[in-house]
Amino acid sequence: MPSSTRREFLQLLGSAGLISLGAIPPRFLVTAAEAAGVAARDKRVLVLIQLAGGNDGLNTLIPHGDPAYEKARPGIGIPKPQVLRLNDQVGLHPNLTGLRELYEEGKLAILQGVGYPNPDRSHFRSMDIWQSAQPLNDNPRDGWLGRASEWQFDRQPALAEALSLGSDKLPLAFVSTRVNVPSLHRLEDFQLVDGQGPTANRDRIRTTIKKLVADPASGELDFLRRATTTALTSAERLKSLSATYRTTVNYPSTGLASRLKLVAQMLTADLPARMFVVSLDGFDTHSQQQPGHAALMAELSGAIRAFEQDLAEHKLSDRVVLATYSEFGRRVAENGSLGTDHGAASMLFALTPTGKGGLHGTYPSLTDLTDGDLKFNIDFRSVYATILDKWLEIPSAEVIGEAFQPTGFI
C-alpha cells in the first residue's frame, strides 16, 4: 500500500471513532487496520459481472464451424466472415475485440457449456439459482458470496469485505443473514449532506445517532441499526478515495466501464473489499436481438479490456479474478421476432491471472438438445468451487453445501 494512502486511511479510521460504534463490529472499518497488515496473496479479489436477462451464449461464443448454427439462426446468426475466429470451430462476436486480445495474451478463459441439471427458464428463479447456488431451494434466503463472507468473517474478518456496484438492490449472491454488504453507484452517492441550520446541531444529531444505533436490538431494528453503522462509517471512509486515484487508461464512456473503474479506484486505495459484483442489464433479447446485443458485447469487451489495463498499470493484475455470469443462455433456434427465448446452458468468461486462459469444457452439441436447449457439461457450482477453493481459499463444500470438482481456469 502506498504510504500516503495508508496514512489517510488510518487517519480516517481514527477520525471515524469506529471502535465505539457498535455491538456488532462495523467490519468495514474496524478490520481495516488489520487489513493493512495482510499479505498480498491474501488480498486476492473477485469481480463478478452479472449479465442480467440471459445472455445469448451462441451469439457470444459462436460455433461458426457447425452448419447447425446457421440453420438455427437464419435471421440473427453472425455471418461467418465477421466472427473473430479462435479456432476452426468457435469464435467471438465481432464486437468482442478487447476480449480476443486478452484471449490471445492468455489472460482470458472461456468456459463452454456451463449450466445445471433441470434448468429453470424463469429469469428470477434461474437468477436465484445461480446466486444462491442452491437449485433445490425454492426460496433461498442467502447467496453464495454472502455465505462465503460469513465463513471468512468468522475466521479472518479483515478479508470478509464485499461491495455491490451499480445495482438498485443488493444481488442475492451477496445476501447474508448476518453480514451487511454495501452497494453504491458512484463515490459521490456515498456522502452525507450537511443541510442548513447551526453546525453544532448537525454534529450533535450525528453523535446522537451513532450513540443510539450502537445498542443491539432484535429483528428488523437490529438489522437497520447494523446497516446504519456500516453506512455511516463507510461514508466517512470513502470520502477521500476519489482524490488519491490516477490512471492513464481511457475507459469507454459506458455504465459498465465506469463501474469497473470504481472497482479499480477502490483497489488502488486499498479498500479491504475483496468481492465485488457489478451488473450489466439488457440481455433479455426476445425480439430484434441483433443491434442491442451487439452494443452489449461492445460494452462488455471494452470495459473489461480497460479494467485489465488499469489493473496492470497499478500492478494489481495478479490480485484479481474477474468472471461473468448470466442466469441462462437462449434457445438454440431463434424465434419469429428476430430474437431468442429463454434457454439453458451457456458460456462464461473469466479473466485469470494464473496463466490458465483458453477454452475450457466442450462446446455443447447444437443438435443433441434438451427441449430445444443446449446441454451443460460444466456445472456452474464447479466454477464457484474453483473460485472459492483455488482463489479465495474458502472451502467450497461448506459454502455450496456439497463438493464440486474445480475446473482448470485458475
Binding site: R121, S122, H123, F124, R125, D138, S164, D168, K169, L170, N180, V181, P182, S183, L184, H185, D189, F190, Q191, L192, V193, D194, G195, Q196, G197, P198, A200, N201, R202, R204, I205, T208, I209, K211, L212, V213, D215, G219, E220, L221, F223, L224, R225, A227, T228, T230, A231, L232, S234, A235, H286, S287, N335, G336, S337, G339, D341, H342, D371
Partner: protein, 447 residues
C-alpha cells in the same frame, strides 16, 4: 354477496372493548399501514371515532376536496400533453400525498408492483395512465376483473411482447408471467402449461394503441393447461388460473406482506386465502377483516416492517409538509429504488430488507436532513411548526405521536429531549433539529 360469518382463529376480530384499548398507538398502526403516513388531524379523528368507523372511512370512497380534484386534473393533463413520464410520476405522487382516499392509492401501488409494468419499454404516458386507471378502478374490488383487464391492457401487452405472440411463433412472455407473477407463483405450473397457455394468448395484440384480437394470428387448436383440455383462448386461461387453489394463496401472501408481517406463517396465509375465496376475490371485505383482526394488532407485528421509499418519503411529507417540490421528490424516490411507473423488472419491488443497503441508508439520512433543515424538498406545515410556547418534553411527545406512533420512550425519549434542549438557534431551528434526528433514526424506518 351472501352475508358471511366473521372469520375465526387467527383472523378473528379484535374486541376493542375488552381485549385491547384503542389508543393513539393502535390508530397510528392502522393509519401507518393502510395509508402513506398520516397527518395530525387524521390521527386525532381516528382516535376519536374508534376502530370500526375508521376502518369504514378507509375502505369506502370519501369525497375529494375541490382543490384536490383541480390539481389532480391539471397534473394529469400536463402529463398527457408533455408525454413526459416524470409528469405522470408527479401526478401519482401528488395523489398519494393529498388524496382523501389513501387506501385506494396504497392498493393501487400494490397492484402496480404486482403487475409491474415499466414505461421504459411501453414508452407511452397515455398507456401507462390507462393501466393505472384500470388498477385504481379495481384496487379494492374484484381481482378477477383486474386480471382479465390486465390481460388485455395495452401497456401490459407492449411490456410482455403481446404482438410477438403469433400462431406459428408463440411468445411465452405473458403466459409465463401470468402464472409466475400475476396469479399463481413459482411451483404451481409446469413449463408445458406455459407453452400451451402462450398459444391461447396468440393474436392478443395492440393496434393503434388499443387491444386488438388478431384472429388470423390466434392459434385455434386444442391446448392442455393444468391437465384440462380444450380450445382455450386467453380469457379461458385467465379463468383457469383464477380457479387454481394457488391463486388465493398467492394473493393472501401479497396482502399479508404489505399490511401485516414480512414472513407470514403458512397457517395465516391459508386463513386469508380462505377469506379471499369466500369473498369471491373482492378485496374490500378481505381488507376489512384484516384491519379488524387480532393478528393485525398483535405486538409482534407492530413496527415490524421496513418502510418502502414511498412509505418513508410520502409518509413524512403527509405528516410534515405544507408544500412539496415534486421534481426533487421524484428523483429522490428513483435513487432510493422505488421509481413509480419504472419498476426494475416485471417482478416489481421485492421490498423488506432489500430496500436497505449502505447507499440507501445514506440517502434516507440525507432525506431527513434536507426535509427537516432546508426548503429544498418541501416547506413544513404550520400545524407542526407552531410550538413556540411548548416545553422540550411536550414537543418531543407531540413529534413522537405524529412520527413514531406514540412509541418514543426511555433512552430514545431522553436523547430527543436532550437534543431539543441543547440545540442552538431559535425555537424553529430547535424543532427542525429534533425532527431531523427522528427522521434519521433506524426506528423511523419501521412502521
Amino acid at each position: 354477496m351472501p352475508n358471511l360469518e366473521p372469520p375465526a382463529g387467527l383472523l378473528a376480530p379484535l374486541d376493542f372493548t375488552s381485549d385491547r384499548t384503542w389508543t393513539a398507538r393502535e390508530a397510528a398502526h392502522l393509519l401507518g399501514r393502510s395509508q402513506f403516513g398520516y397527518t395530525s388531524a387524521e390521527l386525532d379523528l381516528a382516535i376519536q371515532s374508534g376502530p370500526a368507523e375508521t376502518i369504514e372511512r378507509l375502505l369506502n370512497t370519501q369525497p375529494e376536496p375541490i382543490e384536490f380534484q383541480q390539481a389532480e386534473l391539471a397534473l394529469r393533463k400536463t402529463a398527457l400533453a408533455t408525454g413526459e413520464i416524470t409528469d405522470l410520476k408527479i401526478w401519482w405522487l401528488y395523489r398519494m400525498w393529498a388524496t382523501a382516499n389513501p387506501l385506494a392509492e396504497k392498493m393501487s401501488l400494490l397492484w402496480h408492483n404486482h403487475f409491474a409494468t415499466s414505461f421504459d419499454k411501453v414508452r407511452s404516458v397515455a398507456q401507462m395512465l390507462n393501466q393505472n386507471a384500470l388498477i385504481r378502478k379495481h384496487a379494492l374490488g374484484h381481482f378477477q376483473q383486474l386480471l382479465h383487464g390486465m390481460s388485455r391492457d395495452t401497456a401490459m401487452l407492449v411490456w410482455l411482447d403481446g404482438n410477438a405472440n403469433r400462431k406459428r411463433h408463440p411468445n411465452e412472455n405473458f403466459a409465463r408471467e401470468i402464472m409466475e407473477l400475476f396469479a399463481l407463483g413459482v411451483g404451481n405450473y409446469t413449463e408445458k402449461d406455459i407453452q400451451e397457455a402462450a398459444r391461447a394468448f396468440s393474436g392478443w395484440h395492440v393496434r393503434e394503441g388499443v387491444f386488438w384480437f388478431n384472429q388470423s394470428q390466434h392459434d385455434e387448436t386444442e391446448k392442455t393447461v393444468f391437465g384440462k383440455v380444450g380450445n382455450f383462448d386467453g380469457a379461458a386461461i385467465v379463468d383457469l388460473c383464477l380457479s387454481q387453489p394457488a391463486c388465493p394463496r398467492f394473493l393472501a401472501m401479497k396482502l399479508l406482506k404489505t399490511f401485516v408481517c414480512s414472513e407470514p406463517k403458512q397457517e395465516l396465509i391459508e386463513a386469508v386465502a380462505t377469506r379471499i375465496r369466500l369473498h369471491d376475490f373482492v378485496m374490500l371485505p378481505v381488507l376489512r377483516e384484516l384491519f379488524s383482526s387480532q393478528v393485525f394488532y398483535d405486538g409482534a407485528n407492530r413496527r415490524s416492517l421496513i418502510k418502502s421509499p414511498l412509505d418513508l418519503v410520502v409518509g413524512s411529507l403527509r405528516a410534515l409538509a405544507a408544500t412539496v417540490k415534486w421534481p426533487s421528490i421524484t428523483k429522490l424516490l428513483a435513487n432510493l429504488g422505488q421509481d413509480v411507473f419504472e419498476p426494475p423488472s416485471v417482478k416489481g419491488w421485492e421490498g423488506g430488507r432489500l430496500w436497505i443497503n449502505s447507499s440507501s441508508i445514506l440517502l434516507r439520512t440525507n432525506f431527513a436532513t434536507e426535509l427537516a433543515s432546508t426548503e429544498q424538498l418541501a416547506s413544513l406545515r404550520g400545524s407542526v411548526t407552531d410550538v413556540a410556547s411548548e416545553t422540550s418534553d411536550s414537543i418531543v411527545a407531540g413529534l413522537g405521536r405524529l412520527l413514531m406512533g406514540d412509541l418514543v420512550e426511555g433512552e430514545l425519549h431522553a436523547s430527543l429531549v436532550a437534543l431539543h434542549q441543547l440545540a442552538e438557534g431559535n425555537s424553529l431551528q430547535k424543532l427542525r433539529a429534533t425532527i431531523q434526528l427522528i427522521l434519521s433514526l433506524p426506528e423511523y424506518q419501521l412502521y
